[in-house]
Structures are given as structure tokens and as C-alpha cells.
Symmetry: C2
Subunit: 480 residues, 2 copies
Amino acid sequence: MSTVDKYFELVDQHQQKFIETLREVVAIPSVSSDASRRGEVVRMGEWLQARWEALGATCKRVDPGKQDLHGVELDLPPVILGQYGNDANKKTVLVYGHYDVQPALLEDGWDTDPFTLVEMADGRLVGRGSTDDKGPVLGWLLCAETHKQAGLDFPVNLKFCFEGMEESGSEGLDDIIVAEADKWFKGTDVVCISDNYWLGTSKPCLTHGLRGVSYFHLQIEGPGADLHSGVFGGTVHEPMIDLVHLLSTLVDPNGRIKVPGIYDQVMAETEEEQRSYEGLEFSHNALAGDLKRDIIIHSDERMTLKHRWRYPTLSIHGVEGAFYAPGDKTVIPARVRGKFSLRTVPNMEPARVAELVTQYLNAEFAKLGSKNVMKVIETHGGRWWYSSPNHPNFVAAARATERVYGVAPDLTREGGSIPVTLTFEENLGVNVLLLPMGAADDGAHSTNEKIDKRNYIQGIKLLGAYLHEIAVTDLTAATA
Amino acid sequence: MSTVDKYFELVDQHQQKFIETLREVVAIPSVSSDASRRGEVVRMGEWLQARWEALGATCKRVDPGKQDLHGVELDLPPVILGQYGNDANKKTVLVYGHYDVQPALLEDGWDTDPFTLVEMADGRLVGRGSTDDKGPVLGWLLCAETHKQAGLDFPVNLKFCFEGMEESGSEGLDDIIVAEADKWFKGTDVVCISDNYWLGTSKPCLTHGLRGVSYFHLQIEGPGADLHSGVFGGTVHEPMIDLVHLLSTLVDPNGRIKVPGIYDQVMAETEEEQRSYEGLEFSHNALAGDLKRDIIIHSDERMTLKHRWRYPTLSIHGVEGAFYAPGDKTVIPARVRGKFSLRTVPNMEPARVAELVTQYLNAEFAKLGSKNVMKVIETHGGRWWYSSPNHPNFVAAARATERVYGVAPDLTREGGSIPVTLTFEENLGVNVLLLPMGAADDGAHSTNEKIDKRNYIQGIKLLGAYLHEIAVTDLTAATA
């Protein structure tokens, strides 16, 4: 029996014990956005550090400093850096995960207490953090513990980076990655992040792309103070009227961006990419069900995925400075800011996007003939991330997936951003893989968050199998 | 010397005493929107009642019931009804005013404590409520007291209605007016309200029109919950994108309403109205100064006034349900409500306005091809008010103004609403006059609210002169 098969057998034997460990960590309410729970976040980090140290790992606790949370000064929770194994003949894999969770209250609509893991008859393990991201973070730990306890050779040197602020903007993390790139992270061959989800609920996937985001504030300044619409309506240029006209010129109701030049930089589709959409586990029926109303623009499922993954999109988020409360108020807001963002894709440059958007809005504003003052402010310009799925890191993960699940994984991209992905790639100069454990319906930030027992247990196998595959993979092989 | 001249002389002699009385009432912080100040509002009502009763008036305190103020249950402050004089040979004038005030804090930017009246060297009497509406409310009282103390015959029977909730929506008042129309208010010949302002700062005016307001919520419902723009942007119909398209179809940036049929019901201009714009004290220079930025649409001052007084206008107030806070949030709001309102003028019918707006938005929404659900909700449809400035009530007020100020008053309308005007007119079936005491720059709801000493003292004369003119006016004379 191979080491991997032996490992699989042990994981199956220890299923219940692994669920108990998940129960133990779900019970620590490490909500990073709640000042009153900051101590629990720290406790969760310390739990992880202690458990890895008990296994023989060398850990380094980095405290990123202070945070101002709605006027309360708090210590940021620690980033736990670790090194497990240091064999010059083995490859070194860096894994990232986060031990903080989203807020959760029973009265939000949970069926059970969110911080008590409940194993349902249908196989769901329900509890806050079960899938995002405590399950995957435990996966790496339980894999190493299982190997050690059974005397199995651990196939790689493992470095890890576990943070406690992911649900609150990863405050402080980037600086640490930059500072440790040539120190703690030195020698890393590949990075693996398990913090996203399958495209559907039955078929595993590897994720090789993320979109960037360019966020804009479109500000219109009119009078020195808010005005009474009875006195001034119809006699002055109203900032809100200018704003709705400008916002309506950005995108049509079918999602087509009207800013000239935006689509020019989009990477052309290759035949390989075309083929990759075949057989993906994705259906409009399921999507419409999740949305509670069929408001899907495209009739072809592939077009929906392409607009999620490979085309830029533009969304309008809201307006700052206008009347937003329930009820009626007859105000003419003096200064308003429309908030919108573009999701960007290869090969768009954030600076060029900002230039195109600003030029276009200046021209459209000039057409209005308004005496108000307009300004376009780019508040954020984060790049997309794209990796070839033919890189040996992905090939290794695909082989591991086939070994555990018996199917070739879907190759997916995601519409959102996981900024740490790009930070690792750019600062460490190595390939990064996104290897999800949970399924699309896990409800990561929702009520009744769960991970299916199958995904948890097979996921623990998957992470181990991946490390074994990396051990025997030539990472220098050319990417097709 | 006539009774009126004698009265004027006494007012001049008692200027300082009248300012002291204003100081006494400004010192009562009767802020109706502040639960912690509710006792002060009641104290102010009781002060008025006691003072009128000391003069011999019969008063009736009506408590309108309970109010829910942000979850705190409060007793509504009393409406003080009064009757001063009951001579079958005299006409009966009903006056209305309010004894509550807007909130005010020194840290809002006041130069002096808002609840301590300060007499400035330039003649301003600065303090919260000085002009809105404690000065005018005192005017009626001081007029009656002066007549009595000097043994001058009071020219009319005076009824009064002073409320303590005007700055908070006049909660409870309408029901009392309806209930007392044939009881306490029975026998009223004319109504006079002193609770608005001159068009400028030097020339007195009479006000004979107010616009109505029809308020709408334009609701777009999309998915069952807010969505992540990274995942769903560009693949689903976004409520905010539909909303900005629809809002932009309502009105152009120069204030022209694009809803078909809206201008069809607008009363034609007569030659008399044309003439009435000549010589009004109104300048774009002063207006632009008040606005802090010249955002005036029209080049002709008369057009600005016409769009304030006699044309319908449409303002966009804000959006409920979208992201409104500072900063960035990549949300696709699930359900949004755009808030807009039309100011309506003779002879528009609120029901017809709602019908036209709804029909138009339904048609425009159909053009978008969106799968979201749109609904137009009319939350308020208040009528305009218009009175002929040739009514004997106005003629009497014009003669009184000439007697005090030496000039014929401007005849103005206002762009906003004073709903109680219409309530009195409709329920009592008599003419209502708006006779302002303060000037355009008094800053009624602002920091450093003031009434000029001239306006206060001459205003006390004006209210008395008006009552004397009413006494000798044939109110049954045909209106030209």
C-alpha cells in the first residue's frame, strides 16, 4: 500500500475525530469585525500555533500593530507563520489560510447556534467558519498530524501563513508578506491557498484566475449646503440629477459597459479556453434558485461564466451624501458621490481603466451643461490574477483531485478578488494555486454556513494527496 | 391721533421691553424633535396660555395624544386654542403660529448660545426661534397687551391656534382643526398666518400661493439578498442600474420634467400675473451668494421665480437600500428605492400627477428589458394653495403694510408647502393670508437664526395695523 493510500485509510478511520476538532475550533467565536470578540480571535491564533508547535513545527507570531475599529483602538490579531520540516531534498510548499470568521448571531436566522458545530442527517456540518476557512486551515494541520502519528513520511517542507483579519480586509498582512518574502518565505517553491469554493456542489475544481477591481467615486458638488426642494427645485442644477444622468451613461441595463475602449484590452479567447467551458458543473436553474428571482441577463450558461470570469463588468453600488433613510425628505443634496466599480480582467491595466473612465465622464458631464462641479476619484485599483492551469503546480493538484474524487477537476476562475493571491505571486515569484475544499452552496458569509462532511473528509485527503503529488512533480517543467 | 397711530407710538416706546419678552421665550429651548426637550416644548405652550389668560383670553388646551419618537413614546405638546374678545359687532380673525423650534447646538456653528437672545450692533436679534416662529407669535400677544394696557379698543375678536409640533410635521394638528372647525373656530371671518419670510431683505410682502408636493418612491426589486459584485456583476440585472436609468428619464439637467402631460395642467399666465413680477425684490447675485456657488439654471430672474412659484418642478432626493456610507463596498443592492418628488401648481391634480408618473415609468421600465420588478409608490400627494391677492383680506394687509413701511408690499408665492394653510381654508371655508414678519436672510432653520430689530418692531405694528384694517374692511366685497 502506498503512503498516500495509507493516509487515505487513516483519514477515513479518523473521520469522527476530525469532526470533533472542527467542533472545537468552531466553538471559538473568532469574529474579526467585532471589537468585543478580539480576544477570541487571538485565542484561535494561539490554538493553531500551539497545535503546530506540539507537532514540532517552528512558529513565529507576528503582531501587525494597532487597528482603529469604529473609534476603538485594538491590537490586530497575530499572523502565525510556521515551518514544518526543513529537508533540503524536499520541495517547500507555502499554504495560506485565515482563522477569523464572519459575524454570526442566532437571531440572524440560523437554525442552530452558529458557534456550536452541528452534524446534520444530510451530512452538513453546520457552524460559522466550518467552510470559511477553519475547515481548510484544519485540513493542513490534520494532514500533518495524521502522517506523524502513523509514522508516514511527510512529503514536503510545509510553510504556513495563517491570518486573523481576512474577513476585515487583511489589515497588516501585505506588509508582513513583503517583509518576509526573502526571510521566512525564502525557499518557497509553490503556494497553495484553500479559501474558495467549487463552482457547483458535486464536482471539484482548481481555480486559476481572479478579477481585479477598480473602484470609483463620481462626485458632484453643487451648493454650499443642502437645499429645500420646494424653494430651489427646478431653479438650480441639482447634483443628484446630474449624477443619475452620468451613472446611466456608464452601463446599459444588460450589463454592457458604455465607456469607450474598455473592451479593447480584454484578452482574446483561445481554443483551449473555449474547450474549458465544456462540462463545467454550472446551471442557470440552480443560479436562479440561489438568487430567488431569475434576473439572469444571458441565456447561455457559458456567457454567464464568461461575464463572471473573463469580461470586465461594471456595478453601481450606491450614493453617498443623498437621502438614504426610510420615509420622505424633500432635500436637494448639496454634494453627492456615486459609487461604482469595474471588475477587470487580463490584460487590462488599472491606470488605463481610470484614464478611460475619467475621460468619458468628463465628456459626458460637459454634455449636461451643468454648473455643478464634477470629479472622478479612483479609490482603489487592484489587479486581476491569472495563472496557466498547465503549470506543474496545477497539474499536481489535478492528479491529486482525480485520485481522491475519481474525476478531473473543473478549471475555474472567479469573478471576485482574493488580493493575497497576487501579493504572494508578486513578492515570492512563484506559482500560486487556489484549491478549494468546500462547495458552492456552503453559504460562507451567510446564515447556516456549512461544509459537507464529504468535502471536509475528502478535502483533508485532497490536501495531503496534493502535497504528495508536488513531491514527485518537476516544478521546472515548461508550462504549455 | 388715531388709535393706530397711538398704537404705533406705544410700540416704539416699548421696543426694549418687547425685545426682553422675546429673550424670555427664546430661552425656553422648545425643540420638538428632541425627546429630552419635550418638557420645554410643553413649558413654552403653557407660558403662552398663561400670558393670554392673564390678559383675559379664554383658552383651551388640546392634547393631541401620543407620539412615537424613534422608539420613545412621548405626549405630543398641546395645541393652545384661544379666544380674545367676543363682540358680535366685530369681525373675528383667526391667527396661527407655532411655539416649537428647530434643534440648535452651539457646536453646530452658532456664534453665540442659540437659546440666549443677543442683540447685535447691526440690529440683528440672534437666537433660535427669534424669527421662526416665536417673534411672530409674540407679535399677536404684544399687540393685544399694548392695546389693553393703554386702554385702546381692540379692533377685532381674535381667535388663535398655537401648536408645538410644526417643526416635526404638525403631528395631530389637522385632526384638531377638522374637529374644531364648527366649534372653537366657528365664526372666523378670515385667517392670518405669520410664519414665512419676505422675498428679499428690505421690502415687505404678502404671500398668496404655495406649491403642493407629490412624493414618490421608485422601487426596483432584484435578487432575494444583496449580491457580491465580483461574482454577479455583469451577469444579473442590477436594481441600481435600472434605477439610475429610470431616474435619468424623469428630468433633464436643466430641470425640464420629461414626464409627458405634466405641464398640460399648469394655469396660464394672466397679464396681471405678468405685471406682478415687476419690481420684486429679488436678485440672482444675492441668490448665488446664498448658494455659495452660481448653479442657477435660468438667466432671467423672473424665470427663476416662476419656476419657484408657478411651474411644477422635479427633484431627486436620494436612494434607500443602496450603499450610502463613506468608503468602498462592492455590493449589488438587492432592492432599492429612488426618492423623488414633484412640486405641483395650479391647476394640477395630485391623482393625475401620480397617474402620469406611473404610466411613464412603467413604459420606460419596459424599454430597459430588465427582469427585475419595478413599482411606483406615491407616498404623499399634498395640494397646492392659491389665493387671489385681490381678496379683501389681502387688500387690508396691503394697506396695513403701506401704513407701517410706506411701500406697497410685493405679492409673492412660495415654492414650498405650509400644509396648515390649506387645512384652514378647506375646513373653515374662509380666506387665508400669509403675512410674514421676518426677512429672507433670517436663517430660520440655520445657525445664527435672527430677526432684525426693525422687522420685529415694525412687524408688531404691522400685525396690529392689519387687525385695524380688517375691522374697517368689507370682507364680502367681490374679488376682482
